[in-house]
């Protein structure tokens, strides 16, 4: 076992909470978390549904290893149809919430319908109830979590909630748990807001005790922990520098998208890097205060920082003077390099607002980048924006962060995300996105594999669906050349399928720097059953990938949506080792479809369906 064996179905329209046995046949074929929640979702929801309507559903799901001692075994996934993309949305988060939910005895929670008034779900082990949240509506993430703990007189409650961005249905609103971990992408927070669902609060005291073979499990867990500790990335790079270890590395290989992808190197990268976070400032302290692990994680890539008290951004704003989560690489890039901003303290300020108000710093930062480019072109003016906004403007970045969640002034436009915003102002080619979701922090024209991974990602542009950077930059598990297109379809497919298995087990994808599925399989076999061999996990991953793709196809996506912006296809990289290159997507995509077993329109062939049991 190691699944709790039951799910909670919450009908927000009727106000009911019901326990259901988990479909164990599906658990064996879709594992848990991402895979299993998506299986329930595609089975129950019409792909054409309006993401912000009552007919959409939203699921919190843990994996079989969530809540166990397996390193990083604390992950959960939020699955819904994303308002930003109109595609399947699947946002993964760490912190402590996922393990707490599992320890309360639930594998997943399915929300359906729409509440007539603001509510939150409170779970205390087997007991679940919807609680009036009228008094919480309008509160930030940082106000909501303590308010719920005080209300129930229990400091040990874990909270997953939306801030003002989710309430106002900002297209890239996040769901934040444990104050600064987030199911961040695709606008999953807006779906919560559309349902008048403010939070999910959990206290779990039952624990996870149904491990199939505890002795073998502990041996596999300890072996896995030793592999992580001994690896250069998971044992040294990430613990010491956090994900920000990448800032200078990616800049040096000329793949750091800068000023809305106009450039691939940022002269200010060193100022916003992990190394800069550790340097002593004028006030005698460093930006970085300490590290933070998520539940059960023996890597601890999380960073806890504190803004320089004298920095202009936090003058008379006490809530930003404490330590808080950040900066992580993606946020530092999106808020910084993507806009040409190199003020580390200001980036952390904007990052804290993203956590406090609950929105995705990647889409937000990339949208600001598009706005700055349109400002420099004269398409948008100071009068429209309320501020001068050339690339590099620290004040403009902070101003936009402050006004987005509440939709003040131009904040309402930024809340659309870059695809809708640039289209509205007649410049759709300036949105650096795929399927409406903005790129993360690696240039897809210089590093060919990641470009293909972006184009084919089921939730729009994303680095967490097939992180080929591991191979193309870091040489894990084998080095491939960034400029090569040959072999990249195979590489992308292998990463995409394996990632789906890692995600669905309840593990963090960062383990895969050091682990392959051969390290995961013994843990799953001891916990759940002998059938979870490496081959089967690869097959499960491929099945999940195709299930997601099938949902998107039925929602109306075709091969035409597997594309990169014109800029990456026609404007060559100006500097760096990849100077002169553009994306070779056209060469890679047909081969990718072929090895996926899809037709030329990206539709899944009948024999592929049969092979995967779809």
């Amino acid at each position: 076992m190691s699944w709790a064996g039951k799910l909670l179905r919450v009908n927000l329209t009727k106000g009911t909470c019901k326990s259901e046995p988990l479909n164990m046949e599906w658990a064996k074929t879709y594992l848990g978390s991402r895979g299993l929640a998506t299986k329930y979702f595609v089975d129950e929801v019409d792909p054409k549904v309006d993401p912000l309507s009552a007919e959409n559903k939203i699921i919190w799901a843990t994996g079989p290893l969530t809540g166990t001692m397996a390193s990083t075994g604390g992950r959960f996934t939020v699955v819904t149809k994303g308002p930003l993309t109109g595609a399947i949305a699947c946002s993964n988060s760490g912190g402590y919430l996922g393990a707490e939910l599992k320890m309360a005895g639930w594998d997943m929670v399915i929300f359906e319908g729409k509440s007539p008034k603001p509510v939150y779900l409170y779970i205390e082990d087997d007991r679940a109830e919807l609680v009036d949240a009228t008094d919480l509506w309008g509160k930030t993430v940082w106000e909501t979590e303590p308010a719920i703990k005080i209300k129930h007189q229990d400091p040990q409650i874990r909270v997953s909630c939306i801030g003002r961005a989710g309430e106002n249905q900002v297209y890239f609103a996040a769901i934040v748990n444990d104050l600064h971990r987030a199911a961040g992408r695709s606008g999953v927070g807006a779906v919560m807001g559309s349902k008048n669902l403010k939070a999910l609060a959990v206290r779990g005291t039952k624990g996870v005790g149904n491990i199939k073979n505890p002795k073998a499990f502990m041996a596999a867990v300890n072996a896995g922990k030793a592999v992580l500790a001994g690896h250069a990335v998971t044992g040294q790079g990430l613990p010491t520098y956090g994900t920000q270890v990448l800032m200078n590395v990616i800049n040096e290989v000329g793949a750091l998208p800068t000023r809305n992808h106009q450039d691939v190197q940022f002269d200010g990268a060193k100022d916003i890097s992990a190394e800069a976070m550790a340097v002593e400032r004028a006030d005698g302290k460093s930006h970085l205060v300490t590290t933070q692990a998520c539940f059960a994680c023996t890597i601890a890539c999380g960073r806890i920082s504190q803004i320089d008290e004298s920095h202009f951004t936090i003058e008379n704003k006490p809530q930003y003077k404490n330590t808080s989560g950040g900066l992580e690489y993606e946020a530092a890039w999106a808020l910084g390099a993507a806009n040409g901003v190199n003020d580390l303290e200001a980036l952390q300020y904007a990052n804290m607002i993203c956590n406090e108000d609950g929105f995705d710093p990647i889409t937000f930062g990339a949208t600001v980048g598009a706005v700055m480019e349109m400002y420099e072109m004269g398409v948008l003016t100071k009068e429209q924006l309320g501020i001068e906004a050339p690339f590099g403007s620290v004040k403009a970045l902070c101003h936009f962060a402050e006004i987005t969640a509440q939709g003040i002034g131009f904040g309402k436009e930024i809340a659309l995300g870059s695809a809708r915003l640039t289209a509205k102002y007649g410049q759709p080619d300036l949105s650096m996105s795929v399927k409406g979701q903005e790129f993360p922090a690696y240039d897809g024209r210089v590093i060919q594999g990641i470009g293909l991974a972006y184009a084919t990602s089921n939730r729009g542009a994303c680095h967490l669906r097939g992180y080929t950077i591991a191979s193309e930059v870091l040489g894990i598990p084998v080095k491939t050349e960034p400029a090569d297109t040959d072999g990249k379809p195979e590489l992308v497919k292998a990463f995409q399928d394996a990632t789906a298995a890692f995600d669905s087990a309840g593990l963090c994808i960062f383990t895969s720097f050091a682990w392959t599925l051969a390290d995961v399989a013994p843990q799953l076999q001891a916990a759940c059953g002998d059938e979870f061999t490496v081959d089967n996990l690869n097959l499960i991953g491929e099945r999940i990938w195709n299930m997601e793709r099938d949902f998107n196809n039925r929602a109306g996506f075709t091969s035409k949506d597997d594309k990169l912006p014109k800029r990456l296809m026609t404007e060559a990289a100006k500097t760096g080792p990849g100077k002169g290159t553009v994306s070779g997507l056209g060469k890679m995509l047909p081969q990718y479809y072929k090895i996926r077993g899809w037709d030329s329109d990206g539709q899944i062939n009948a024999d592929t369906r049969k092979r995967l049991g779809l």
Binding site: T68, M69, M103, L179, G204, V208, G209, K225, A293
Partner: protein, 158 residues
């Protein structure tokens, strides 16, 4: 030689491996709410502190127990609760100045750290050596070495 748990909060990442190791060791289940060591996360300062029983020589809990359910393990020095004897009166939980002995609803008894009979699972599970199990007479040895290094080696190279 007796050993003591030595906690260095600066090294704690808040992963809770120690809490799970403790609950697994004693109850065969992964469950921080049953752990005898707890990690406290002070998010406004970023400080995380693992906290458990220090095994007082003159233990308040032991002295307060009206049924002599708490005894000293002569090998490890741990103050150990005998579940067979404990009546769940909770007087020890009042007597302990540190809060490290607690009542367990499921069993109707109290629980506290027993040093896992000399091989504490929390220390083994800790990935950062925030929790170590060291010579009870020399818990300050590492800190002494650090200062000796500072005053001796580093000073002499300046």
């Amino acid at each position: 030689m007796q050993k003591s748990l030595l906690i260095n909060a600066d090294k704690c990442t808040g992963c809770l491996q120690c809490e799970m190791a403790c609950s697994y060791e004693h109850y065969g289940i992964f469950n921080p709410s049953k752990s005898r060591i707890r990690v406290f996360d002070f998010h406004n300062t970023g400080v995380k502190v693992p906290y458990t029983c220090t095994q007082c020589d003159e233990a308040w809990c032991l002295k307060a127990c009206p049924v002599d359910a708490i005894s000293i393990d002569l090998v490890t020095g741990a103050k150990v609760v005998s579940e067979d004897t404990c009546v769940g009166c909770k007087v020890c939980t009042i007597a302990c100045p540190f809060g490290t002995i607690n009542y367990v609803q499921d069993t109707g008894k109290v629980q506290k750290c027993d040093l896992c009979s000399g091989d504490p699972a929390c220390a083994t599970a800790c990935p950062t050596e925030a929790i170590t199990f060291v010579d009870a007479d020399w818990t300050g040895l590492d800190r002494m070495r650090e200062w000796a290094d500072k005053l001796g080696n580093q000073a002499s190279t300046n």
